[in-house]
């Protein structure tokens, strides 16, 4: 379902990803771990099409289709979702308006009918309830005045409503206390399904206690340097990333 082939990415003329290869099969959850500066967030951003993140070589195939040529909104309509590490505040755009605009824009692009107001409200109420998000909060500006935990829950709410094929979670655990972490990971786990793949990007192993991955990859200096099962995360927690910095030096 997701195939990243020989991906090279530069940001401000600086090479960040150096021939990254990655395959995530349908229904699988893969974790990407790595030290600061290894290119984790760059991978997330280039997948979502953030301006300034330039793929100079390689492909990102979603069900065989290269998404690199698509605009960000087209990628989203094709089933890609990025949960932001730092969700942005948009004063003046009510969260409800934002959710509805996004949902209907995607449906429209896929040739589906727009949701009626009652249909939409029902969906939001259900999804928000599971994430313990108060409906009053959704009438406020997007993420305005939200705590760190509330922002992350709002990301998962969007994911639940948009029902993507591929979820990329960028440092979703950052800024979360233990209770919020539980709510957020439960939200993510509910969305696990045989039709949906997930890429969980994290620096720490902690999140992977809650969202248990099928496969763990170690990213260092812009490439995947090691791949293993979920136990690899525990190994890393014990030994740190230093060993891989050396491995990359050796590889290059």
């Amino acid at each position: 379902m997701l195939e990243v082939k020989n991906l090279h990415v530069t940001v401000d003329g600086k090479q960040i990803l150096n021939g990254l290869d990655l395959v995530v099969d349908k229904g699988e959850v893969h974790a990407i771990m790595g030290p600061n500066g290894s290119g984790k967030s760059t991978l997330a951003y280039v997948m979502a099409g953030k301006p300034g993140y330039e793929a100079t070589q390689g492909q990102i195939l979603l069900d065989g289709e290269d998404i690199l040529a698509m605009q960000s909104d087209e990628r989203a309509a094709n089933g890609l979702f990025l949960a932001f590490q730092y969700p942005l505040e948009i004063p003046g755009v009510a969260t409800m308006t934002f959710l509805r605009t996004a949902l209907n824009a995607q449906r429209k692009k896929r040739g589906e009918a727009e949701l009626s107001t009652p249909e939409f409200l029902k969906l939001v109420r259900e999804a928000a309830g599971k994430l313990e998000i108060d409906m009053d909060m959704l009438r406020r500006g997007v993420n305005v005045g939200f705590s760190g935990g509330e922002k992350k829950r709002n990301e998962i709410l969007q994911m639940a409503l948009l029902q993507p094929r591929l979820c990329v979670l960028d440092e979703t655990d950052s800024g979360l206390d233990i209770d919020a972490l539980k709510i957020v990971s439960d939200g993510v786990n509910r969305l696990r399904s045989p039709d949906r793949s997930m890429l969980v990007i994290t620096h720490y192993q902690r999140l992977l206690d809650h969202i248990v991955p099928d496969v763990v990859h170690v990213l260092s200096a812009g490439r995947i340097v090691k791949t293993g099962g979920k136990e690899l995360a525990l190994e890393l927690e014990a030994s740190g990333y230093a060993q891989f910095q050396g491995e990359v030096a050796h590889a290059s």
Binding site: Q71, D73, A102
Partner: protein
């Protein structure tokens, strides 16, 4: 330098002076009014049209922008009145009482003067001038007389009609009053309207002005507003029109003690638009909100100039202006706050923000604070910038196409100022105008 050179008149100035001298016999008003007009005409003769060397007009060189003056509009014919039938509908359905002026002349047959609530008097300025109305005699030209104001002088010299509204002490006017100004003539003309609104103590009213004009018109409109102690007045002005319209508007308001005055100016059309607002606090403990939103494209030039004069202690003024600029448009904000020596505990703030959607657009802002009291809070801020690319990416990453993402962000930007309008229906109607403007932009 030879003074003769400075006194060289432009074609427009000569034509306006000629329009006054040849037309004054037909303008309404008795001896007092004639004297007022004569003095104003002499003032205009001395000042001329404002130009860039006049500090208050530095960014809006009206003399250069208005090379020719249009002939003065005559009374509208039946076809012109018919064309004004739907004017001003952009305020939405507020169940407002419509008072309609076509080509600067009050048209009773399409105005609603039935069932005026107790304490409310509405009449035409032309009639009031002709009849020597005591309210007009008492206030006209005296509310906040601006110095060295050529366009106000010109308005006084050539004013023909407008609204005279009186709200008696303690009266609450439930239905908003909508002054609809429509210039529908098919040949370009000049229109001079002048209104006077006097709200007595403790009264409450909402006043909406909408201005629209057909191609090539030059509109000079002025409103004098007297707000009594403890009165509560909302005033909203909406200006639209074709891209070759010149629209100059002056609001002169004096506000009593413990009153509330909410002013909002919405600009969504016109070629050269100047909205100048002179507000004077005459009594303590009053709150005034002066807000505005402008959406500009093409070669539009919209200038919002405010002078807020704190003459009484303990008053609060808030200015919030948002301007969206596309194409080669130019937006000007000039805000002057004066705090007189005894106006202690003044709390005055102004904020102006410009959102530039094009590299060719230009926003100028000039805040001025003149503070003569020592126990005051005054602040001003100005920002200008392009759309936030990170916010746009966030919206697009959720599947929202680029133009829609931009539209959402522009709506949010303008929304902050529009939120200041208390009437929910009007707020929604203006947001719809914003959406329509954005749709036209994206098309």
């Amino acid at each position: 330098m030879n003074a003769e050179i400075r006194n060289m008149k432009t074609n427009a100035e000569l034509a306006l002076a000629e329009a006054y001298s040849s037309g004054k016999a037909r303008l309404p008003g008795g001896r007092t009014v004639v004297a007022l007009r004569e003095a104003a005409a002499a003032r205009f003769d001395a000042l001329g049209l404002p130009h860039r060397r006049v500090e208050e007009w530095k960014y809006t060189d009206l003399r250069a922008l208005m090379r020719e003056a249009r002939p003065i509009a005559g009374a509208p014919d039946a076809a012109g009145i018919a064309r004004a039938k739907d004017a001003g509908l952009r305020i939405g359905d507020m169940e407002a009482r419509r008072i309609v002026f076509v080509d600067g002349t009050f048209v009773p047959e399409i105005s609603d003067l039935t069932d005026l609530s107790p304490g409310l008097i509405i009449r035409s300025m032309a009639q009031a001038l002709a009849a020597g109305d005591p309210l007009v005699e008492a206030h006209l030209g005296k509310v906040v007389p601006p110095d060295r104001e050529g366009v106000v002088a010109l308005n006084t010299a050539l004013m023909r009609d407008g609204a005279v509204i009186h709200v008696a002490k303690g009266a609450t006017v439930e239905r908003p009053i909508h002054l609809v100004f429509a210039a529908t003539g098919q040949t370009p003309a000049s229109v001079f309207t002048r209104s006077l609104v006097v709200i007595e103590a403790g009264a409450r009213v909402m006043l909406v002005e909408s201005h629209d004009a057909s191609a090539g018109h030059q509109v000079n409109t002025a409103l004098e507003l007297v707000v009594g102690d403890k009165a509560h007045v909302d005033h909203i002005k909406i200006t639209g029109g074709p891209s070759d319209l010149v629209h100059v508007s002056s609001l002169m308001a004096s506000i009593g003690a413990h009153a509330r005055f909410n002013d909002f100016a919405f600009n969504i059309g016109g070629g050269v638009v100047r909205n100048q607002t002179f507000v004077r606090f005459d009594g303590e403990g009053t709150l005034a909100g002066l807000r505005g939103a402008s959406l500009l494209n093409g070669k539009q030039h919209v200038d919002s100039t405010l002078v807020v004069d704190h003459q009484a202690p303990g008053c609060q003024s808030r200015e919030v202006f948002a301007t969206v600029l596309d194409g080669e448009s130019r937006g000007v904000f000039q805000g002057k706050i004066v705090v007189r020596p005894h106006a202690q505990q003044t709390d005055a703030r102004m904020m102006t923000r410009a959102l530039l959607l094009s590299d060719e657009a230009e926003a100028d802002s000039k805040p001025e604070l003149e503070i003569f009291a020592d126990d005051v809070q005054c602040g001003h801020g100005a920002t200008s910038g392009a759309l936030d690319e990170d916010l746009k990416f966030y919206l697009m990453a959720r599947g929202i196409p680029e133009t829609d993402a931009e539209a959402l962000l522009v709506q949010a930007f303008v929304g902050e100022a529009i939120e200041g309008i208390e009437h929910a229906g009007l707020r929604d109607a203006l947001m719809e105008q914003v959406v329509a403007w954005l749709r036209a932009r994206g098309a």
